[in-house]
């Protein structure tokens, strides 16, 4: 009689990790520890590789198992896996037994058969390697000979029950014809018998094979039900989109310099740490140069910058930006900067996504540049390639990696400011670079379309490159036009000349006025002297005439007295005195 606790424990599905991180995430922990999982798919989808990789993972953890193939010889199996990084593990005969059952192909069948002998043999082999994993690759090759299809399905269920009872994790693979059914050919109804079914499929898109993975059924547990892209490389199978997202870092208010002082001013002090910036523009508008300035600035702060270039060789980028005073080589040498080139057409979008993830995992950058991120959209993908970029940005935002993307705008459409329309909505800051053509020359302009959380300038500015570096210049507003480059310089010279001419004319006028004032003041001074002289002369003259008149009067009186008798003079004197008294 089982205890209540034991019964409850039996009710919980125990899982066994596969060792494939993304698969363990999608399955929320791995495969049923005690029971069967069916992997079905078209030929070439990676069923056997998936099973063998799980198997190799188990061996790496010190677990043992039995691999049995009904399709290929054990030699072929081991040869096929030799190119994988884990292939060598399958040669460990102390933990792994590979059984060659492909000899059953082409043999005759006469009536129904049992699998008890098979199970007895598997148990014996598992015991010899102390194994808990069993994989039957191409089980449909055996069961399709069962005259009664229902009997074949029952035998699959029998295997599942046997594994539950014995504590084995069983992997079964089988082919289907690509009709999207979740069962192998000849085994209709098997989907109802097994608790766990994975479906692998493939599709040609633009001449490239896209493999997909889906958990069609996983009874009794949560799992990722979405169809996920499958990638196969030297490490085996990956489900890049199954990765779980990490913890979200808090929003940071710290401003980071872009490497262009005046651009920082335009952005209100720089870019927020952990933000995403999109720089879009036509070819040759200096997107890469600005991105390089941003990366160099990060390195100069002592941070780590990862610069991923699509389609442009790293050495050429280093050389080209050095011509405008941006030295990347020093930071590459000091291991603060990792500069990698990816070829956009060479891989699927999912490959690029996974490669970028691995770069981030390995280098752990503070700042990330993808130049141009729009190149990823050229990559083939069964889904929209934008998903790869959006998933990547989701990660960088969560992890606080300050990210700068560039985007190549179309040559044909001047109004097409970004081919990354959806990314531009995710970006915190969007800077648009353009050409202004006037007077037979192209000049670069920069404007900030948006910058979240920033009172940024709305002014268009000229982007000026020189051997001394990269800078922004104020544009010249001339009526309704914006002048840049030579036109701006000419107009500025013209205005400066006019200003200087006006200054000169004003100075000259001032000098004339000052001379006239001096002259007038001199004249006033002279006139004043003359005035004083005249006054003095007048006074002298008046004084002279006064004394002269008195003398003359006395003289005349003397003469008259001498000429007149005495009594007449006395009367005249009395008469004069009487008139004076009468007047009084």
């Amino acid at each position: 009689m089982k205890s209540k606790q034991s019964e409850q424990a039996d009710m919980v599905l125990v899982k066994r990790a596969t060792g494939i991180r993304s698969l363990d995430i999608a399955t929320r922990g791995g495969l049923p520890a005690h029971g069967a999982t069916l992997i079905i798919g078209e030929p070439g989808c990676g069923k056997t590789i998936l099973g063998l990789q799980i198997f190799a993972g188990a061996l790496a953890r010190g677990e043992g198992g039995v691999f049995m193939s009904f399709e290929e010889s054990s030699t072929q199996i081991l040869r096929n896996t030799a190119s994988f990084s884990w292939g060598e593990r399958l040669h460990d005969t102390s933990r792994c037994q590979v059984i060659d059952a492909h000899g059953m192909k082409g043999t005759e069948f006469s009536g129904a058969f049992d699998i008890e002998g098979l199970l007895a043999m598997l148990e014996s082999c598992a015991g010899s390697v102390d194994g808990t994993w069993i994989m039957l690759d191409g089980i449909d090759q055996l069961l399709r000979h069962q005259p009664d299809q229902n009997r074949a399905i029952e035998q699959v269920a029998q295997m599942n029950d046997w594994c539950e009872q014995k504590g084995y994790t069983l992997l079964l693979t089988g082919k289907h014809s690509g009709d999207r059914l979740t069962r192998p050919e000849h085994l209709a109804g098997i989907e109802f018998m097994l608790p766990t079914i994975f479906v692998l499929s493939s599709q040609l898109v633009d001449g490239r094979l896209h493999r997909r993975f889906r958990i069609a059924k996983y009874r009794g547990t949560q799992h990722d039900p979405d169809e996920l892209a499958v990638l196969i490389d030297n490490d085996g199978i990956h489900l890049p989109y199954a990765d779980s997202l990490g913890e979200e870092v808090p929003a940071n208010s710290e401003r980071l310099g872009t490497g262009i002082g005046r651009l920082d001013d335009v952005l209100g002090g720089g870019l927020y740490r952990g933000s995403t910036t999109l720089i879009s523009g036509q070819p040759g508008t200096s997107k890469t140069t600005i991105a390089a300035a941003f990366a160099r600035e990060a390195c100069q702060r002592g941070e780590r910058a990862l610069f991923v270039s699509f389609d442009e060789l790293a050495s050429r980028i280093v050389r080209n930006v050095a011509s405008v005073g941006i030295d990347l080589q020093t930071h590459i040498d000091s291991d603060n900067l990792a500069l990698h080139t990816h070829t956009s057409w060479h891989s699927l979008a999912e490959h690029h996504f996974m490669a970028l993830q691995q770069r981030i995992d390995e280098f752990k950058p503070d700042c990330l540049v993808i130049d141009p991120a729009s190149a990823m959209l050229k990559a083939s993908s069964a889904q929209s390639p934008q998903i790869a970029l959006e998933r990547l940005l989701e990660r960088t935002r969560r992890e606080g990696i300050t990210t700068l993307l560039t985007s190549l705008s179309s040559n044909d459409d001047m109004n097409d400011e970004s081919t990354l329309a959806s990314v531009s909505t995710l970006a915190d800051t969007w800077i648009v670079l353009r050409y202004q053509i006037r007077g037979g020359e192209r000049n670069r302009s920069l404007s900030v379309v948006k910058s979240r959380g920033t009172a940024h300038s709305n002014q268009v500015r000229e982007l000026v490159l020189s051997s001394g570096g990269i800078d922004l210049a104020d544009v010249y507003q001339y009526g309704t036009e914006v002048l840049m480059g030579t036109a701006r310089a000419e107009k500025e010279s013209e205005v400066e000349a006019a200003r200087q001419r006006e200054n000169r004319e004003r100075d000259q006028h001032h000098r004339i006025l000052r001379r006239q004032i001096d002259k007038t003041q001199l004249e006033i001074s002279q006139q004043q002297t003359e005035l004083e002289r005249l006054r003095a002369e007048l006074e002298d003259e008046s004084a002279f005439h006064g004394s002269s008149d008195q003398e003359s009067a006395r003289h005349n009186e003397n003469i008259r007295q001498r000429r007149e008798p005495e009594h007449k003079i006395s009367r005249e004197k009395q008469g004069t005195q009487h008139r004076r008294e009468g007047d009084q």
Partner: protein, 98 residues
């Protein structure tokens, strides 16, 4: 077509019947084989290997389903007939090539 040379070798050395205990299909296979041998005039009985008792023989002989009848005569090409041997025509043809 039976060869004169082989006919002298006991059937137990020329045929192996792989079985799993007394499972129903094992029983049917024995019955069907017995009838066929009688009809073809072959004497003797094949060697029987019970995979439940000796599962290592499954790997040794590459037999992964039971019942299975193996032509063990090394002078002839290896041949296996899987199943409960209920297909009389297939079984007769298999035995005729002994």
């Amino acid at each position: 077509m039976n060869s004169e040379g082989n006919s002298t070798i006991p059937l137990s050395q020329r045929l192996i019947l792989f079985v799993t205990g007394d499972a129903p299909r094992t029983g049917r296979a024995r019955s069907n084989l017995s009838s066929a041998l009688a009809q073809t005039g072959l004497d003797g009985w094949p060697r029987e290997i019970d995979l439940l008792k000796d599962p290592s023989q499954a790997i040794a002989f590459g037999m992964f389903a039971t019942p299975a009848l193996l032509r063990a005569d090394q002078t002839l090409d290896r041949a296996v007939l899987y199943g409960d041997l209920s297909d009389e025509r297939a079984l007769r043809q298999f035995l005729d090539e002994l």
